[in-house]
């Protein structure tokens, strides 16, 4: 039995023709990554090269190019990031332990000392937050969070009052609940999709904003220790 073509007619044949080359590109990228890992003896280099294999994965998933494929791209990216962070923590913890020092459950030897952090204008942060609010959703949250993180890092010298940031953490939790409620409404009562859409979009916007800015708070705590 022959397979039916699932691609709708509005898609140009050039785009459809790109599918198989893209898949093969992804697989070849993965093979190149694997080959270079097999030559590599340094653990850190092997870890970085493994990321190339992950990029090959993203190429294959992105080659499908439908909305369902997008639902695979985002988790794929997150999984890739989570695993590379976990493995680099393992590597750091092992190297510190090899030197005979004790190590926390989460080692974080972070030391940012750059001149640009004290001279950069806060205007950038305002632009980023405003643009993120305009975008809303996950992307907007990431951009606005980047703006707040930028503000925190540039103002590290003067010191930021801690209780404000703890309040932000609470608001982030509540916004996350809004996001979850929005998703639940999508599934349980699809008629109210507009309410669910706005709950989810702005819930995740506020949540991601505060989450990204909380990275700044955690970094500040680490600065204080040193």
């Amino acid at each position: 039995m022959t397979a039916t073509v699932l691609v709708p007619n509005v898609v140009s044949p050039v785009v459809v023709g790109l599918f198989l080359p893209a898949v093969f590109t992804g697989i070849i990228v993965g093979l190149i990554g694997l080959l270079s890992i097999s030559y590599q003896k340094n653990d850190l280099h092997a870890l970085i090269l493994t990321d190339i294999v992950g990029i090959g994965m993203l190429i294959i998933v992105a080659s499908v190019g439908t909305d369902l494929a997008e639902s695979l791209v985002l988790p794929g990216l997150v999984v890739e990031l989570a695993e590379i962070m976990a493995i680099s923590e393992i590597l750091m913890s092992r190297e510190i332990r090899k030197q005979g020092k004790t190590v926390d459950l989460m080692p974080m030897p972070l030391n940012l000392d750059m001149e640009v952090l004290t001279t950069a204008p806060i205007f950038f942060a305002i632009i980023l937050v405003a643009y993120g609010a305009f975008l809303s959703g996950f992307t907007g949250g990431a951009i606005a969070g980047g703006g707040i993180l930028f503000y925190v890092i540039t103002r590290l010298a003067r010191g930021v009052p801690a209780n404000i940031w703890e309040g932000l953490a609470g608001a982030s939790g509540i916004a996350w609940c809004l996001w979850l409620v929005g998703f639940l409404i999508f599934f349980v009562a699809p008629d109210y999709w507009l309410l669910a859409l706005f709950l989810s979009a702005f819930g995740v916007f506020i949540k991601v904003t505060f989450k990204a800015s909380l990275v700044g708070v955690m970094g500040r705590e680490e600065f204080k220790k040193e």
Binding site: G30, I37, V53, M57, I60, S63, V64, L105
Partner: protein, 226 residues
């Protein structure tokens, strides 16, 4: 060849919008097994372990650090819940995410033991798991591209099998093997099951076994070889 022949009669479905869970006796049995083991982990307290000393008649009590123990037990419970979820999901997308969650959690379980040899094994397992995301997500994306859906109840109604579906299935199986299939090997390589306070690490074996069995069921549903 449909779902009701593979796993027994369909006892019921839970439609959550796009995502439809279905229950057959086969799935329910594995779901209950994973949940029962997780419940055992949750109520057990195995932080101290009594070992017989060699050459004398004395016993030796080995205790682990409470923080480390709690972290490992939490990760084991998450692993058990993810396994249980992967057993009943009727959606390739959910299944992929559960498998990657199990992979990340397994890295955490192995890495929580702070010994250099164990961390070595955790690092190598992490690299394999990261490489495994290429065939896992790539395979899922190719199955999506060739069938147009990732809902198993929809895929089972497609009467034909194309070579791209077979190729995607092979990639998918490779990905599952890299993500959870090799985990028991690395856990055993580091002799993790004899480290104090970790008999419940057998969840790695259980999850690996159940996930492989379920993967084979899913691949039979997709490819319809009979």
């Amino acid at each position: 060849m449909d779902i009701s022949i593979l796993g027994g009669p369909i006892l019921g479905i839970i439609p959550l919008g796009d995502i439809v869970l279905y229950f057959t006796p086969f799935n329910l049995f594995m779901f209950a097994a994973a949940l029962a083991f997780t419940a055992l982990i949750a109520i057990s307290s195995t932080e101290s372990q009594v070992e017989a000393e060699f050459g004398t008649l004395k016993n030796r009590e080995v205790k682990v650090d409470k923080a480390e123990f709690k972290l490992r037990r939490f990760l084991a419970i998450v692993c058990g819940l993810a396994t249980a979820g992967a057993m009943v999901t009727g959606d390739l997308f959910d299944f992929t995410l559960f498998v990657t969650l199990i992979g990340i959690v397994n890295i955490g379980i192995v890495a929580a033991v702070k010994e250099i040899d164990v961390l070595d094994a955790a690092f190598q397992y992490g690299l394999i798991a990261m490489i495994g995301t290429l065939p896992l997500f790539g395979g899922a994306a190719l199955i999506l591209a060739s069938t147009g859906t990732i809902s198993l109840l929809q895929i089972v109604q497609i009467p034909y099998t194309t070579s791209l579906m077979l190729f995607g299935s092979i990639l998918f199986f490779l990905g599952v093997a890299g993500e959870t299939g090799v985990a028991p090997f690395f856990a055993t390589k580091a002799e993790m099951f004899r480290t104090p306070g970790s008999p419940f690490l057998l969840i790695i074996h259980l999850s690996s076994l159940l996930i492989i069995v379920r993967t084979i069921e899913i691949l039979l549903i997709i490819n319809k070889p009979f």
